[in-house]
Amino acid sequence: MFSLGLVSLLVRRNLIFVLMSLEVMLNAAGLAFVVAGSRWHQADGQVVFLFILAMAAAEVSVGLALVVQIYRRFKSLDVDELSGMRG
């Protein structure tokens, strides 16, 4: 699942799809943590998953605000068009 998200992140050129792929990747990492915690019967994996959850929430709120801002300014969600954004 992580590799699926990574491939999508590299392939897609829509900003919202990029954010969704990030969600998938974070989710896969959290899944790995919970599976490991369940394997060794420790609660640490679930705790780390909670931290990943909080971080994903903060990241996605800021990211979506940036998406709205970029869409207002450029009228497009194409990542390649934003490549000229320097200086």
Partner: protein
Amino acid sequence: MTSVRYYRETYMELVFYIAGAVAVISTGLMLTRLNVVHALLYLIVSLLGVAVVFYVLGAPFVAALEVIVYAGAIMVLFVFVVMMLNLGAHEVDIEKQWLTPGIWVGPVVLAGILIIEVIYLVRGTTPGLATGELGPKEVGIALFGPYLIGVELASMLLLAGLVGAYHLGARETERPEIQHDTNTDERRTAAGGDLVLAGAGQPSRTP
């Protein structure tokens, strides 16, 4: 007794693999959709599948949080932003096109598989694979024991995210006001400070 338990674990493994397959398939379908809303549907199904996997693995607390926070809050954020960006007159036609029943079939079938699994799990007696269950109590003790500093850092991160999202989202609405103010100042200066003459260049509103 032993054979019953053995069969139960076998079924549990079957449920686990089916839920994992549903999650992976819906993720793959999500990544290949061209429409954002279709992709969101598949993403929700994928998150629910991961939640079922968590439940089978003996982590019901995390499964509930996955459904509430990911499939609830974060997906609502995505849907809000998609709806905000899709303002336009031609959207009605696209909306009609969306309402064709063909696109619902995939997510509905996958979600139906998950629902059947959840019903099977709830009707059973002992959830979890052979490794046993880690309930909310253990997670809470570990969270507020050795990981307390992490909780504080996560709260600060969430606060920073809140402030950042508010700042980024509110910047565009401030700009017209500033523009308006400078225009007024320019006009007042051009009219020599006379507020009555300041509106002379404008087309009059009263007939």
